[in-house]
Symmetry: C2
Subunit: 420 residues, 2 copies
Amino acid sequence: MLKIGIIGVGTVGQSVCQILEQNKDIITARAGVELKAISGVVNNLSKKRDVSISLSDDVDTILDDDSIDIVVELMGGVEKPYEVVKKALQKGKAVVTANKALLAYHRYELQEIAGETPFEFEAAVAGGIPIITALREGLGANHILSIKGIINGTCNYMLDKMINENIPYDVILKEAQELGYAEADPTFDVGGFDAAHKLLILASLAYGIDAKPEDILIEGIENITSEDIEFAKEFNYALKLLGIAKTRDDMVELRVHPVLIPNSEMIAKVDGVMNGVSVIGDKVGETLYYGAGAGGDATASAVVANLIDIARKGKGSPMLGFKKPLEVGLKLAPKGDIQTKYYLRLQVEDKAGVLSKLTTILGEKNISIQNMVQKPCDDTSAILLLSTHICNEKDIKDALDIFETQHIVLSKPAMIRIEE
Amino acid sequence: MLKIGIIGVGTVGQSVCQILEQNKDIITARAGVELKAISGVVNNLSKKRDVSISLSDDVDTILDDDSIDIVVELMGGVEKPYEVVKKALQKGKAVVTANKALLAYHRYELQEIAGETPFEFEAAVAGGIPIITALREGLGANHILSIKGIINGTCNYMLDKMINENIPYDVILKEAQELGYAEADPTFDVGGFDAAHKLLILASLAYGIDAKPEDILIEGIENITSEDIEFAKEFNYALKLLGIAKTRDDMVELRVHPVLIPNSEMIAKVDGVMNGVSVIGDKVGETLYYGAGAGGDATASAVVANLIDIARKGKGSPMLGFKKPLEVGLKLAPKGDIQTKYYLRLQVEDKAGVLSKLTTILGEKNISIQNMVQKPCDDTSAILLLSTHICNEKDIKDALDIFETQHIVLSKPAMIRIEE
């Protein structure tokens, strides 16, 4: 029997306990030994929890208990769990965590500290989808050319409703909060930070690259308007918040932002709160992984899968997928150094010569237009929606800056990137 | 360095050699050691091959070479590769195979023979998609409720063209053969046998169930007509050849046949030659895996992933996913014992009272109708297309038998199962 201590017995922790009991037959058959949750640590002992393990409010009851083989860390936060996990590893206890923030900041230190002690984190990205295993084991033969992940269910749910049911941002945010999909302070989700944490973990597995959240471009879905939604529909795009990793020459672009994707792509079909990750390998081509990215049982399914792994084979694969560094690794592209297609939205004066003026500015910046729609706005102004061919983000930003100085441009121009 | 011998150096074998050379940097970093293809065995030495390894036409040059650590079996067939793989394992060599037919018949004997020697087969199901790893590692915490797999790209390509471009079966079969998607004798693909082999492997990982191809229902796509296609379109279904595993009480239904699936389901969106596998676990809900199911590089990507796995951790997980049998395992449901929804197509006399007669027969067999369309066929007959609610296949078969005895039914009725 392997004994398990759970630090943080909230929704996911309770699901872990329940799965270990309810599915004991199949888990024991697969693992070869029984996996038993023994004790848990919580902040507030007076809160009622649906588990039969012994509870304490002191992490040392687990860390100092030599009979505990595996620590499951589900506390949330960064620095406190880091200290706890570090201590557990130093005591030779295997660790399983679902904590993406912890890994976004400390994954390489933890790999170092863990050494030959198992440290697993399947639940940290895309909940129940075994994307860590897929990247680390299944696609190991490939240079990864790109990862495009819908890895925040809250944003995907909101965008889905905005685009398919024409519900405005504020209304759908309130609904998502009422349904429990979004927190009271939704910034972490809608601002793209949650997705960024997960993207950084995937980037380590794909490229062995050690980047932190502050090193990469992170933009949320807060500024999407109904005009953007209309443009997406008109040109047959889906609108998604994507975590993107993409190689270019000897660099990797890492970025999180709203993206227009052609509806024909498989990832465009990932709707509602579901998650989906498309990975393109140089040999395998595109593979895609789809499933529930959150929820107690789905997340706990991944935690328990890691417990079974540890029971079966101990250390298994290297934590972050590389036994040794690449001789010639890829560099992280500077934050703003992006090449892609762009969608632009401009409110302009509705009179002769305006279009020629604007296209001249774009042309001087080597930006060529792929599609354009003009719609009347009011008596004197029009909305111009256009998409570009691939160009440099710097050129787009420069063009937008110039637009802002033109009196014919009546409000701040908007931009969304297109990936196709 | 781990030395690899490849038995069968066709398209996939050559891709394995190329990947090991071209992606040596990332493979070595991930595996921790260099993986080097040393020698290969082929039937016909005079055929030109694009590899730099030494070639022989005698399997013993690899089996008797003590310096070879891992044998990659890519011969095809069943009994001959079984003997070769057995001998390799007995000599303590790790084995990686892409041979689904071998595993459909001998996977449990091979697991026994392998013992603690690594034996891996990621490439045997759905080519480059890491579905073996997903089921064996990623979803280990779950009782698997169902697997629905588009695991034959040839059939999916053909059905896609039939439904989206109205190309008749014979024409698209010929085109698939010219494109190299279908063999000169296409029975193995279009008859569902290839998909059945793969389904049996997935069923072992999910349920620990030892079934052979002859134990399960296998129907191909040969009898699909344009009327079936029209019904699918009219009621917003996709038409796919699925490998299905599904639990019911203490039984598992295993079956391969054409299926109508609601277009809204994610797996309905797997088009062209692509493969996709939907797995529903009792805890994780639905997950789906999508990618290239065939082709040299995609298949070799999975073979090389297994080589990396073996280099990293030796045996790793138990070959078929279970360290010991389930105490109370699931039984294989008898071949014809199926419960699902059905679509029926009948050519009937176009006169009063016919509909009432037919619905009475269905009612007596406890079959209730969900949708019905009647279309004129010629001056005296009509085509009746209908779908049922969930019922027993035995009742459907009985009703169809009774229909055939009725003079008002003018030709043999057709039936396609619906999964939703």
